[in-house]
Subunit: 139 residues, 2 copies
Amino acid sequence: MNEEEEVLKVNHRFYQALSDLDLEAMERIWLHEVWVSCIHPGWQMLRGWENVRESWRRIFTGTFSHRIDIGQISVQIHGEVAWVTCLERISTPTEDGGDYTFAACTNLFVSTLSGWKMILHHASSVPVEEPTPPGMQVH
Amino acid sequence: MNEEEEVLKVNHRFYQALSDLDLEAMERIWLHEVWVSCIHPGWQMLRGWENVRESWRRIFTGTFSHRIDIGQISVQIHGEVAWVTCLERISTPTEDGGDYTFAACTNLFVSTLSGWKMILHHASSVPVEEPTPPGMQVH
């Protein structure tokens, strides 16, 4: 597996953990440092693993069920740092099938002895008309 | 000047260019590659320098006057990649003094032979109550 594939695999695990509301998986994905950052849509910027972990705990506790698909994925690697930009589709089940919102996303990773670890996640709401925009693979 | 200071200087130049609506300065700040990315608040993700440049041109053409101050600045450097997170305060003059909006921001830079160049800008609106939140230096 080349480096890009390794990064995309960790990025995929991140979205799997997010879809599954799996805090333990999220803990394995992030680097536990005071300088990591996370910006959820409409939230203040969070800094430090403890604050980032607490935000995921709150989100996972407050969410009954959702599913995240991603598309328009781009990955870049320079030395020990990698970043992925992508479009997130957040699907929430409703009585008449489902509701969609979209977020544009920047994910930053650093290479460690335990593999690539997430060090920054920045997601922000974007207006998208179609339920399946170009470049969005939904399974 | 150490590397952190160099990065912060380029980050400062970016906000100066943004405040001044100065497209030529913006051109000097960014790396002109097809893989650079930019996410303006509420916009779709843009990829490639041509699209990013065009977005700044449109923003600068459509803005009469504004001023950007930043605070809560954090900088990290790993090898040839640096990233800054900060809170932007966008001030727009109005009849009764001014109006403020805030954005949380991730800026990514890469080290080149011509110095640090911006390769990603992601800004997203955040709700902030006070006109001068903690960590915001306004001159």
